[in-house]
C-alpha cells in the first residue's frame, strides 16, 4: 500500500509530464502552423458589392490634406486601393 506522500509524488510527476507535453505541443511546428492558420484564411468579405454605392469617406493623406471621394475622383471615377500596410 502506497503512502500519502508517494501518491502526491506520483500525482506531481504526472502533472509535470502533462505540462511538459503541452509545452512541446505548443512549441512544435504543427502547433505553430495551427496558430498561424488564420493568416491563410480566405477573405471573409470583399466589401461593397458591384453595383452598390461606396460609403462616404474622408481621411488625411501624406501631406496632411483631408481627402474625400470628391477630391479624389476623376471624370471617370476612381480606383480605390486597400493595401495591408506601406511598411511591412
Amino acid at each position: 500500500m502506497k503512502s500519502c506522500s508517494d501518491r502526491m509524488s506520483l500525482r506531481w510527476r504526472i502533472s509535470l509530464a502533462a505540462v511538459m507535453l503541452l509545452g512541446c505541443v505548443a512549441l512544435s511546428p504543427v502547433a505553430r502552423a495551427q496558430d498561424d492558420a488564420w493568416r491563410s484564411e480566405l477573405p471573409a468579405s470583399t466589401g461593397v458589392a458591384v453595383g452598390e454605392k461606396i460609403p462616404a469617406f474622408s481621411g488625411t493623406d501624406q501631406n496632411g490634406q483631408v481627402r474625400d471621394f470628391d477630391s479624389i475622383k476623376g471624370p471617370g471615377g476612381a480606383m480605390i486601393v486597400f493595401s495591408r500596410s506601406v511598411d511591412w
Partner: protein, 263 residues
Amino acid sequence: MRAKGLGVVVITYDTREIVEDFATRKQITLPVLGDAQSRIIRDFGVLNTAVPEGHMWMGVPYPGTFIVDANGMVKSKYFEDTYQDRFSTPTILLREFGSVAGTRETVVRTDHLEMRYYATRDPIRPNLRFTLVADFEMPEKMHVYTPEVKNYIPIDFQLEPSDKFRARPVDYPQGELLHLEAIDETVPVYEGKFRLTQDVVMASTRSLEEILSGESQITIRGKLRYQACDDKICYLPQTLPMEWTLNVEPLDRQRVPEAIRHK
C-alpha cells in the same frame, strides 16, 4: 489610370507618420490615406476579421481594389484569395479598358494568322499577379475553333508548369457560330481579331530566392496549338512556341523608423 479619367487613392491601416515617411521616401504623389482606426476599412466591409485580438495586424484590410464610377457606384473589384498576392495595375487596366502599355511585343506570322504576344508587366515581383496576352488577327474567311468545339481541333494555350509561378485558367473569349455550308454544319470559331489572356501569380520571395540572388530574370514558356480552316480547306494543325523573359525584382523591404512602426 489618370489618363483613363480615374483618380487613385490608397488606403492602409497605417498611421499618418508611417504613410508620410513612406511617401516621402518613395516620392509617392498619389494620395495615401492612413486609416489608423480602420474606420474607412470597416465602412467598406474589408476589415480582415481573422486577425487575433491584440496582434500587430489588427485593423488591416483584405488587400483589394475597387473601381468606381464618378457617382461612387462600384463597377468592379479585384481581390485575391491570399493576403500575399496582389493584382498589378496593368492587369486591372487591361480588364477595365482592354489595353495597356505592355512590355515588348513578340510577333509571329504564319500562313493562317498573326499573333502578337506580351506580358502586361516587366519587371515583376514576388506574389504579383500579371497577365500574359496574345492578340490574334486572321485573314478574311480564315477561322480557328474555340475550346467548346466538338470533333475539331480547338485552339489550346498551355504554359509549361513551374514552381516559380501559378498559372490561372486561360481566358478564352466567346466565339461566333459559323455555318459551314459545304457540310451543313455549325461550329464555334474565332475569326478576325481576338485575344487570349492568362493571369500568372508569381511565387513568394522564398521560392524566387535563387532567381533574385542570380540573374534576376525568369523565362516563362508556353505553346499555342490550333487548326485553321477557311471556307474550302482545313490546314494541318500547328503548334507555336511562346516565350516571355521578364526581369524579377525583390519586394521593398525597407521599413519606417522603429519609433513609428506598428507595435
